[in-house]
Symmetry: C2
Amino acid sequence: MRLSELSRAVGVPPATVKWYLRVGLLPKGTPTAANQAHYDVRHVRRLRLVRALIEIGRLSVDASRRVCDAIDDADLPLHDVLGVVHRALADAGAHPGATPEASAAVDTFLDRRGWQVRPDAPARAELAAVLTALTGLRDSGAPPVDTADAVAHLLTPYAEAVQPLAAAEVAGVPTDLARDEVVEQVVAGTVLMERALGALRRLAQEHHWAGRREPD
Amino acid sequence: MRLSELSRAVGVPPATVKWYLRVGLLPKGTPTAANQAHYDVRHVRRLRLVRALIEIGRLSVDASRRVCDAIDDADLPLHDVLGVVHRALADAGAHPGATPEASAAVDTFLDRRGWQVRPDAPARAELAAVLTALTGLRDSGAPPVDTADAVAHLLTPYAEAVQPLAAAEVAGVPTDLARDEVVEQVVAGTVLMERALGALRRLAQEHHWAGRREPD
């Protein structure tokens, strides 16, 4: 198919498709004539994935390209592809520096839960940034949320909510299929279901607010 | 304090503080001289909140201003402030159009769960966009994730993970305090803990991957 057909098939404007080609987010098509190229079903899939990463997953163009490069590197194990995806998600939206207290409290929290997580896992810094921001927003009288006890109190319900979920997600990745057959689905699931999880939390909050009297 | 001191207190560059003042994200200080103004502790709090909304919550400047305006409108009940926050979070990152099938499947899913959620809750469209994207990324042989059964199968574990969490979050908002005493904390918690939830899910995934053999 031609670029205009690719554009229509996925619903991405031709100018955006051309830009994705230029910045290397989409592999070049097969040249057919001067200024013309042929695109196939793999371009449709990739364009859909890129769009989902950027528009729904809120990844930057650079982060999306790193994710696509990791998918295309057939020598990179699935686990390492997911490492690239996790880094991209942690970096989506810069997060201001965390205090050393908050970073240490996150490390203590994860240690006590017994979670096997690399020391440089990007989500550690992301969590520490959240705790630092919450501490900064506390009233002067309120205790900070960057001590081990305060962090355990705050984060435990969230950790307990996601732990069985993550176990099921990891267990749900088929072991009898080759890396190339699952990698795109696993990447898409990791990115898109984080968005779905946030949306469902807000819907559940709305539901529970509906059953509660408003404070005056 | 002066603008330079406000900037240092929160760790936001003076040029950014000036820009926030210009676009109305931060209320003007009290004029003290030509081109000089005095800022106080309320500016520090607001600047911290704005920074958290934008940098950690990934809200746009427009969405952050709508959230701040809602906080400052003392006549707006807390529940309605949260409606503004939920809309801002759903809109963070445009999401491409959902198919009617995906939208209908989300509505059916929420109905069957018995969640009391407004028909125009912005997270409905967000979920439908996720399902539409996942369906588009499926292999041609795989069933779409926009039928009621497929959506229930996919989303139920996520809904079950967040439901008790959301119940605890809503129950944790004090009823014995005035709106103005809790509104900033509730807004910050809604936005920042969504980010924390995603980070914890990824850490739990890493933990569970560590206990699993890599598919070849």
